[in-house]
Amino acid sequence: MFEIIANNWQQLLVGQYPQGALGGLALTMILSVLGLIIAFPLSVVLAFCRISPYKVLNIPATILVYVVRGLPLVMLVFWSYFLVPVLVGQSVSGFTALICTLVIYEAAYLSEVVRAGIQSIPEGQVEAARSLGMSYRKTMLKVVLPQALYNMVPSLISQFVSLIKETSIGYVISVQEITFSANQINTQLLTKPFEVFAILALTYYILCFCLTQFAKWAERRTTQKRLGLRSPKGGELNDPVLESQ
């Protein structure tokens, strides 16, 4: 097993990079980071459409979210592999098709997270801001969103973890991310499939496990802050209620 890692670590890490296209773990990370960065603003827009009272915004956004939630990711990948070239008017790489898929998929799922975050801010906050004379836009931008986004950080990290896991779908359209690289190594070695795929699984596990633990830590922290157990400067305050339990 260590022998396989020692001989192939470069291909797992960056694919055939200096000679060929960037791949491997690096491409997996690029795909997921890029996917999150593009999907996040879209998801905020979608979430506002979902809570908006205007049917013109509300209905299409709701349909989009339900369609994406009801479809397997593989199906979406094939759709975008087929439709994006038609829309753009020229053929696109698997990378572009995969990014488009991940953005649509993740935007739909994240919009539910953002919506829950916005709706978890007490109604009184909105009423107070509105009665101070702020417009709806200003209320949302200056009062609701900053609080909602802060509370959402843990779920955002867990969504990032699922995004990393979803990039493995690139395998079916031959995007050379780490699953594809591992499969290439497997076809070169032929005799050690279990070891190769175990290494692949372990790599994903270590990466995602660290991020999951980070999300749990962030969750504890935001909860503490929300309950007022932590001063803004970071020191812990004593809480008589919790200490008595």
């Binding site: 339900y66 369609v67 939630r69 009801g70 479809l71 397997p72 990711l73 593989v74 199906m75 094939f78 759709w79 087929f82 973890v161 896991k165 979803e166 493995s168 779908i169 395998y171 079916v172 699953t179 499969n183 497997n186 499939p193 279990f194 070891e195 190769v196 795929f197 175990a198 692949l200 699984a201 994903y204 596990y205 995602c208 496990f209 999951t212």
Partner: protein
Amino acid sequence: MPDFLKSVLSLFNAPYGEILLQGCLLTTWLTVFSFVLAVMLGTCLAMLRVSGNSFCERVVAAYVSYQQNVPMLVHILLWYFGVSNVLPIFMQDTLNYFGSEFIYPAIAIGLCMAAYYSEDIRSGLRAIPHGQHEASRSLGLSYLKSMRYVVIPQALRMCAPPFINHTVLLFKNTSLAMAVGAAEMTYAVRDIENQTFLTFQAYSIATLFYLVVSLALMALGSYVAHRTRIPTR
């Protein structure tokens, strides 16, 4: 538009209709097999997790964290290419009897979703205050009876929504079996697309199939949850 509909309908005729039917059947079988496996194993895991034995709890926690932090596709590839190779010969033969491209993805999906189900069940059990258990015990119910009549009926209601979401996820994830050549719905429409070049029409059929089943599962779930909810004042 009539032309489009006509070409969609033409895909239901021989020989493509048969491919579609086979795909539909295999997707159903994959879903049923892995669902049964996942529910049974998930229940056992949840029991072990709340058993109070710290060794068991740690093993289950490690299992759950492994299954949740590795992509489903990697599980399927690991089982199909890897585990199939290291199993003893007689087990390989037994499993291959069911068709290797069916049984290995089905096991992989079942084992992975078991982790999700066990977490759902555990959080449902944890959501019931301990006082409920104590109260029923002090009223003279045995441990099993207080579980059977007081704790579990409430816990099941609590874990219904995530359970339904994960069942939809399980159904959708069966499409990943196409990566190892199982001829389920996604594979079937890819096949038809390659033969006829009616890409749009073929994908539309599969999309409609997945959407209808997923939305039906969600609707059924929320209907059951609504019917069995505990009325609140």
